[in-house]
């Protein structure tokens, strides 16, 4: 039995239209708190190393944090060329999330920042400085040069490390002061022997917008803590945010990849529209001849087939932006350097709300043992720390 052309064409059209929904890219998995690195796809390995490294740091598992960050930095520190996953991510029929994740610049910066803290903890301020410089380098590829390499802390710490290494840190200090528009930064005190690295709040989240999710966007999350107060050895130091990761995430500007995704979106839209037009035209042409096997029937069939092919190409095109996110990052970064005599000290770190009131649930207590000698004692405290 031969199906008449209009019925066949309409049936195929419905099938094609039903299959036209854009395949959804894997959204960022929420943090599980356990290592899934070995079971996760290779392209997500760095993402989980980032997350687990920060969790380990907050638990005080410093060796684990170093191991994970070192491995992640191997991926982000080189020049990524000829990567098959990256090539696939640029193709029409694969999503951006098929590329090996190394994160957006603000995420890469944070990997270097935390590794720098760990180097300084180990008494290697020069390698810490190298990490802060690499972090600043990661932030240098902004569309608007006004926001290029504008992390206050990275330059400030670069200068501090240089000063402690008997080099000149004044240039880095000036750059930090220029980037710190709101606050006057404290001058370097070479006698300070306790360095507090504080972070608090919740990192920005990525989401995609646009007709096909081809535009990468960032959403600011509500952060309870907006500043911190350190109380130790009779000193009270109020520490305000030096850097805001939401600001950093949203001031990078357009990416080269955004152009590729935009082209994919145009392709998807154009092939869909062309497919619709061809299928409808073919159906109209075919049905107008009432199955008389005329030339118009053949032309209608051809148009409908071309339309179906076009719709298939459209459906298979994935312009969605990559929204995998290092989602346990903080929003705010702070730093304070103080001087304490040798011996044991109990430090209390209070995190404060937007009005400056202490948030008792977030208060952390840290025991600091200062040995005799000139080595710096580096303390990392987060409002999410679980080891204090």
């Amino acid at each position: 039995m031969k199906l008449s052309f209009p019925i066949w064409a309409v049936g195929v059209s419905l099938l094609v239209l039903a299959g036209c929904s854009t395949p959804q890219s894997d959204s960022a998995k929420s943090f599980s708190g356990s290592s899934v690195i070995n079971s996760t796809p290779a392209r997500d390995k760095v993402l989980w190393e980032y997350r687990d490294a920060l969790t380990a740091l907050r638990r005080g598992q410093l060796d684990e944090a170093k191991r994970l960050l070192d491995d992640a930095i191997l991926s982000i520190g080189g020049i990524n060329v000829g990567d098959k996953d990256a090539k696939r991510a640029r193709r029409f029929f694969s999503g951006e999330d098929k590329k090996t994740f190394i994160g957006e610049p603000y995420e890469r910066v944070m990997a270097y920042y935390y590794r720098g803290i760990l180097y300084w903890m180990d008494g290697e301020p020069d390698n810490a400085r190298a990490c802060f410089r690499s972090g600043q380098f990661q932030d240098s590829d902004t569309e608007n040069k006004q926001y290029s390499s504008d992390y206050v802390l990275l330059d400030y710490l670069d200068g501090l490390a240089s000063t402690k290494l008997a080099s000149d840190g004044s240039d880095a200090f000036k750059r930090a002061q220029t980037a710190s528009k709101s606050f006057s930064l404290p001058a370097y005190d070479t006698k300070s022997n306790v360095l507090f690295f504080l972070d608090y709040g919740s990192s920005p989240l990525k989401y995609s917008s646009g007709q096909y999710g081809e535009q990468l966007r960032f959403r600011e999350r509500t952060s309870l803590a907006h500043s911190a107060t350190i109380k130790v050895g009779g000193q009270t130091i109020r520490s305000v945010p030096n850097d805001d990761l939401y600001f950093q995430a949203t001031t990078r500007g357009g990416r080269v990849m955004d152009h590729i995704l935009a082209n994919k979106a145009v392709f998807k839209s154009a092939t869909s529209a062309a497919g619709d037009a061809a299928i409808i035209s073919g159906a109209v042409l075919g049905s107008s001849q009432q199955g008389r096997h005329s030339n118009a029937d053949e032309i209608g069939l051809g148009l409908a087939l071309a339309g179906v092919a076009s719709k298939i190409f459209s459906a298979a095109t994935v312009p969605a932006a990559d929204t995998r996110t290092w989602d346990n990052l903080p929003q705010y970064l702070s730093f304070a350097a103080i001087s304490l005599p040798p011996g044991q000290h109990i430090a209390k770190v209070e995190f404060n709300d937007a009005q400056g009131r202490a948030l008792p649930n977030l208060t952390k207590t840290v025991t600091i043992n200062i040995p005799p000698g000139s080595r710096d004692n580096v303390i990392y405290v987060s409002d999410k720390s679980t080891n204090s």
């Binding site: 930095i73 520190g77 080189g78 020049i79 990524n80 060329v81 000829g82 990567d83 990256a86 090539k87 991510a89 640029r90 029409f92 951006e96 590329k99 190394i102 590794r115 720098g116 180097y119 290697e124 020069d126 390698n127 810490a128 400085r129 190298a130 990490c131 410089r133 690499s134 380098f137 240098s140 590829d141 290494l165 080099s167 990416r255 080269v256 990849m257 152009h259 590729i260 082209n263 994919k264 145009v266 392709f267 154009a270 092939t271 062309a274 030339n295 053949e298 032309i299 069939l301 051809g302 148009l303 087939l305 071309a306 092919a309 076009s310 190409f313």
Partner: protein
């Protein structure tokens, strides 16, 4: 009837042409540009990557050869004793700094035995503990345990890594200067100094830009 036979191929051709017209354009070097090692005096098209094993080998080979040709070492009366001091990293690349001095030491110990000798200062705690055990009679000794036999340094060998980075839309370039010094422990004279330069550049895949 002829046009009926041609219509279907023509339709697919038209669709193919449509797709071809929609191909990605406007992105330079979408696959990136491979990292290219260049002479330091060669002007590159942009900038590069960090300190790698081939740099370590090239630099330390050069330094070891250079040290041995220094008159103070080559013509020394007796065997000069050298202590390694940590290398300072002033680049943007976190590195294992000791590896440079370790390789220079092993190169010299392997290829120029008895021309220069290194003192194991990083093992002093263990050595002092052993000496204390001998002095207290807890362990045996083949020589007078009270004699001071730990050697003093004739020279200190140290170094510094300094870097310069450039980044433009065309890529990244890194220049690293490796400089090493041999310092006379008695006079503070720098009796030998040499350097090596490496410049690299590259451009990342567009998926990461």
């Amino acid at each position: 009837m002829k046009h009926k036979n041609l219509f279907l191929p023509f339709s697919f051709l038209a669709v193919t042409a449509l797709f071809a017209g929609c191909a990605t354009s406007g992105v330079r070097n979408p696959s990136g540009v491979r990292v290219t090692e260049m002479r330091p005096d060669e002007r590159g098209f942009v900038a590069g990557t960090g300190v790698e094993s081939q740099d370590l080998v090239a630099v330390t080979d050069k330094m070891a050869r250079s040290i041995l040709s220094t008159p103070e070492i080559a013509n020394a009366q007796g065997i000069p004793r050298v202590v390694l001091e940590p290398v300072v990293n002033d680049t943007r690349f976190p590195i294992n700094k000791n590896i440079f001095l370790t390789r220079i030491r092993t190169e010299l110990n392997t290829k120029a035995r008895n021309k220069v000798r290194f003192l194991a200062r990083e093992q002093m705690k263990v050595l002092e503990h052993e000496r204390d055990l001998k002095q207290s009679g807890a362990v045996t000794s083949n020589s007078d345990p009270n004699a001071v036999e730990f050697k003093g340094a004739d020279f200190f060998l140290t170094g510094k890594l300094e870097g310069m980075t450039t980044r433009t839309s065309r890529g990244t370039s890194d220049y690293v200067l490796y400089s090493f010094q041999l310092i006379d422990a008695r006079t503070s004279d720098i009796i030998w100094e040499d350097s090596a330069e490496i410049k690299k550049q590259g451009l990342e895949d567009a998926a990461y830009r």
